[in-house]
């Protein structure tokens, strides 16, 4: 069980969102797409050179700009908690 940034997940690694560090606008936009504390995500790919991170959440693909992804803290422990 370890906490890291969403950007630091490796491809195909699954994790649970622990914290979203951002203002009201950012929180709202993320939550609208289902990204909230306690939700499970799987990283699909990262476009290189500072490009967005692509994750799978609730079977939907979501692309998140790198700066925003860096403010999402995840936990990579998977015992279905």
């Amino acid at each position: 069980m370890s906490e890291k940034l969403l950007t630091d997940l490796s491809v195909n690694e699954e994790a649970e969102i622990v914290e979203i560090r951002g203002g009201r606008g950012m929180q709202g936009r993320l939550r609208a797409l289902g990204l909230a504390e306690g939700q499970h995500v799987k990283k699909l790919s990262g476009v290189g050179f500072g490009g967005p991170v692509i994750i799978l959440i609730n079977r939907a693909q979501v692309a998140i700009g790198r700066g925003m992804a860096r403010r999402i803290i995840v936990r990579t422990d998977h015992t279905n908690g």
Partner: protein, 632 residues
């Protein structure tokens, strides 16, 4: 002034009361459903945010007429953005609501459903894309879902029309006199306040006054519970489509896919366009095969003899001859140069431009409906960041390559004023529309392919250059890309055809009168020698700065009406290749056409509109002079 290039006018300000209001998250197919119900064609695509503003229409059903409104897609009723604010106002005034949800992502869409239920309006849920859900092995117990939510749930497939009749029947069967008791997720405490809408509270630190909130954790828990009860997931195989989905956002493969897709798109546009014009099939240089077909041949074989007869009747040099036929070139009508209403006035829009409008919008429709565009946006995100934008700005830009008007309007899908300003300014200066491109290819292409490539190259550099400058000079928050990437879908040919038809007829309706009007005005001004005086006055700028003959001011001014007509006016000036390239670049940049100008000011406001025009003027002077200086 119509607001779009394609017929339907999305309303922006006035409040309307809908008999039936379609509400749902972006990209669930509200617009397609709306078209099914009202018979009104709308532009629907496979990416979020296609409906900017809202669309109203009438539905005739069982001898009654109902006003149907298609609300902009919104993720939540919390008024964080314009779309949500518009939706909230529409909900207030609506009689019945159809909540369109995506059957393949129930857990995400039900959060909005719970907020809507809490508004207490009579409501039906359209479980859309249920065919895709079946395909993906997602089984939903519809009866149970309806029972848990307390409102009717109707599975639909808007694309094919499946379930739409049942949906309408269920909607009209709603009891509209009795306001529904709010469903789960909302604890009713007293009456609703006038301004407060129950919505999910995403920001616990915010002020609670005048608002009704549904605690967020409660909503997620309830949605989770409902979804667990009604949804069964079956295993399914990794399809070819999913493999492609992974490849197109992959760091390495994504780049190759993007280059391949863009290259194929350009080749397709050129092949289809050239085929429709001249019947030739080929990619570069002379066509490999030539068929006796095409708009150019039609004009030459069928229209020219008629016009020559008319020319004889009117008598060369007479006022009417000048107006309808124009000048004879070597005793013959030249559709590019003669410049009469019935010669160039018809040939430019119908013979030279229309084929490229058809081919451009056909290919754009393919890119839109398959769902490739959001992937392109993701892939180009880091490049666009260097221009102070993010990847999604590529979508309005691509639309601008068809016509600047919908391109500038589509900047509304971007979050901040600053992004909208940069994107719209770049489109209006450095993104040539399909009509202009068709004429550049037609006119400059005769001198070889490289001058055409050079014009494109220069405009691309200008686009990047101004973007870089604006990034550092215009202030404002730079948001990050955050989009849902829709799955690839096989486009429906019917939907593709209908969208193409709308865009092409939209072009004809809006371009044809302006083109004819421009030809008349230009002819009249010539008769009264107005251009002679203007040309004398502006000669220093034209020749000293840009190396163009003084008469070249006329096309530049006409370009403010229509760019395609204007560039045709370079034809009789006997320009060198250098002058033709400078002229084409300067004409592309020098003021957007009047339709774009109006939309630009409306979207940006007076202050930013003027700023945008100022940037344009500075850029066109510098760029024109730079090419003139650097080109030996």
């Amino acid at each position: 002034m119509a607001e779009t290039c394609h017929g339907v006018t999305p309303k922006k300000t006035n409040r309307v009361s809908a008999d039936i209001l379609l509400v749902g998250q972006p990209n669930v197919g509200k617009s397609v459903l709306f078209s099914r119900m009202t018979g009104i064609r709308t532009i629907a695509s496979n990416y979020p945010g296609t409906t900017v503003g809202y669309t109203t229409g009438r539905m005739r059903f069982a001898n009654d007429i109902y006003d149907v409104v298609d609300a902009p897609g919104t993720y939540s009723l919390e008024p964080l953005d314009d779309a949500a604010r518009v939706a909230v106002n529409l909900i207030d005034d609506a009689v019945r609501i159809i909540n369109v949800v995506d059957a393949t992502h129930l857990e995400r869409h039900l959060t909005l459903t719970l907020e809507l239920l809490a508004q207490g309006k009579p409501m039906v849920i359209a479980l859309n894309m249920s065919d895709e859900a079946r395909h993906k092995g997602i089984e939903i117990d519809v009866a149970k879902l309806a029972q848990r939510l307390g409102v009717p749930v109707i599975p639909t497939v808007a694309r094919t029309g499946e379930g739409v009749r049942r949906l309408i029947l269920a909607t009209l069967a709603l009891d509209i006199d009795k306001q529904k008791v709010p469903g789960i997720g909302y604890e009713k405490k007293g009456g609703r306040s006038v301004t407060g809408h129950p919505h999910i509270l995403h920001h616990p630190e915010a002020n609670h006054k005048g608002h009704k909130h549904i605690p967020e954790q409660t909503v997620w828990r309830r949605v989770g519970k409902v979804v667990n009860e009604v949804q069964t997931l079956h295993n399914h195989h990794h399809t070819f489509g999913q493999w492609l989905e992974d490849a197109s956002v992959h760091p390495v493969w994504g780049g190759l896919v993007a280059m391949l897709v863009l290259a194929v798109s350009f080749i397709l546009i050129r092949m289809i366009g050239e085929f429709l014009i001249g019947g030739g099939i080929g990619i570069v240089g002379n066509p490999w095969v030539e068929l006796p077909f095409g708009t150019e041949k039609l004009f030459d074989v069928a229209w020219k003899p008629v016009m020559m007869k008319l020319s004889g009747l009117l008598g060369e040099g007479s006022f009417l001859h000048n107006l309808f036929i124009g000048q004879l070139i070597g005793g013959q009508i030249d559709f590019m140069q003669s410049f009469g209403i019935l010669t160039s006035g018809l040939f430019i829009p119908l013979g030279a431009v229309l084929p490229y409008i058809v081919s451009f919008y056909f290919v754009l429709g393919l890119l839109e409906d398959t769902g490739y565009l959001p992937r392109l946006a993701v892939f180009l995100d880091n490049v666009m960041h260097r221009l102070g934008l993010h990847g999604y700005a590529i979508i309005p830009t691509l639309l601008g390559l068809g016509c600047n008007v919908p391109g500038v309007m589509a900047t509304r899908i971007l979050e901040t004023k600053r992004q909208r300003f940069i994107t719209a300014t770049l489109i209006s200066i450095a993104v040539p529309c399909a009509a202009l491109q068709a004429m550049i290819i037609g006119l400059v292409g005769d001198r070889g392919l490289w001058p055409v490539a050079l014009i494109y190259g220069i405009l691309f550099v200008v686009w990047i250059g101004i973007g870089l400058i604006l990034r550092f000079t215009s202030k404002g928050f730079r948001p990050e890309l955050l989009i849902e990437i829709p799955p690839y879908r096989a486009p429906s040919w019917r939907a593709l055809g209908s969208k193409l038809w709308m865009r092409v007829t939209g072009f004809l309706k809006e371009a044809l009168p302006v083109v004819l009007g421009a030809v008349v005005v230009v002819n009249l001004l010539y008769q009264f020698n107005v251009f002679t005086y203007i040309a004398r006055a502006t000669a220093p700028v034209m020749s000293f700065l840009w190396g163009l003959p003084k008469e070249a001011i006329v096309p530049l001014l006409v370009g403010i009406l229509r760019k395609d007509v204007a560039i045709g006016m370079f034809a009789p000036l006997n320009l060198t290749i250098k002058q033709l390239v400078i002229g084409s670049v300067v004409l592309s940049m020098f003021f957007p056409c009047i339709a774009t100008l109006v939309i630009l000011f409306r979207e940006l406001g007076w202050k930013d509109g003027l700023k945008s025009i100022g940037i344009m003027l500075a850029a066109v002077i510098v760029v024109g002079a730079a090419i003139n200086l650097l080109w030996p």
